[in-house]
């Protein structure tokens, strides 16, 4: 086994060696655990399911043809998601190239303070709420309405539970940027979701203001 793959879990390093040695079937075993992550990363950028699936497939194929360039300095999943992210960005650029002005502009100004809106909190942890399609849709819509730079960080950190370090490697931004964008994303989501969850999603609970500012 080559020295360069010391960072990898043994089975992953073996699979990579197998693929390089010509056992191409091993490639599917290698990427299978990350299917969902690849898809979620893609959809955080392109926002619709059909494009996300296309991006995911293209990214996986690209990873296969570029596997000889993978040195094992990062985790395989980080490398794969970095490819996915770039692929998704490219897809977005292509789709928008005919527009006069790009909609995927610069990240919003991150200077200054964010003032969270004043909603009373919902106390019960509403995980079972996602069983309701309406609520799941509301959460998706809230995520999709975020500025892309916030959404991408949120999806990697809070949906995929990746570390700050992995997130910086995939998006190519600093740790400080990851933290600031995640912070904004979470507070903005809270702003858009708290009234619904407070007010109408949980039966018998009424939305109430804590204190008018």
């Amino acid at each position: 086994m080559s020295m360069t793959q010391s960072q990898l879990p043994p089975n992953e390093a073996e699979l990579i060696e197998s693929v390089r040695a010509g056992d191409r079937e091993a490639f599917y075993e290698l990427v299978r655990p990350y299917e969902r992550m690849v898809y979620a990363t893609a959809i955080s950028v392109v926002k619709n399911t059909a494009d996300a699936e296309e991006v995911a497939q293209e990214a996986v194929l690209k990873a296969f043809s570029g596997l000889s360039r993978f040195r094992g300095e990062a985790k395989f999943s980080t490398w794969l998601l970095r490819i996915t992210y770039n692929e998704a960005k490219m897809k977005l650029r292509k789709a928008r190239s005919h527009l006069y002005e790009s909609l995927d502009g610069q990240p919003p100004n991150e200077e200054g303070d964010f003032w969270p809106r004043d909603y009373a909190d919902w106390r019960p942890i509403p995980s079972e709420l996602l069983e309701q399609n309406e609520v799941c849709k509301a959460v998706q819509d809230a995520i999709n309405s975020l500025n892309p730079s916030y959404r991408e960080v949120l999806v990697l950190r809070d949906i995929q539970n990746l570390s700050i370090k992995e997130t910086t490697a995939i998006l190519g931004i600093s740790e400080a940027n990851v933290k600031t964008r995640l912070h904004r994303a979470r507070l903005l989501l809270r702003d858009s979701l708290a009234p619904g969850i407070d007010g109408c999603w949980i039966k018998g609970q009424r939305y109430k203001k804590v204190r008018p500012w």
Binding site: Y28, L130, D158, I159, H183, I197
Partner: protein, 86 residues
């Protein structure tokens, strides 16, 4: 005489400062000292506690795994695509 253990005073922190760090607080990406100051603030401030709980709930709701379900047949189609290439 029993000597009382010297207690370090907790330096107060404003609501705005607390909001700035709420996300880092949840991720435990702050110093012990700041954590203590924030905890003291949460004890006294219902508003910031509501924002903290709300933000924590958002993180749990989003991280639930049900938000971006992979489409039906995704794996199969991906496998087919890989297979074609092989």
């Amino acid at each position: 005489m029993v000597k009382k253990k010297a207690k370090m005073p907790t330096i107060e922190i404003s609501c705005v400062e607390v909001w700035r760090e709420i996300s880092n607080y949840l991720d435990n990406e702050i110093s012990v000292e700041l954590r203590e100051r924030m905890e003291a603030h949460f004890k006294a401030c219902a508003h910031c506690t509501a924002i903290l709980d709300g933000t924590r709930n958002v993180v749990e709701l989003v991280g639930d795994g049900k938000v971006f379900q992979i489409p039906d047949g995704f794996s199969k189609r991906l496998y087919k695509k890989i297979h074609k290439l092989l």
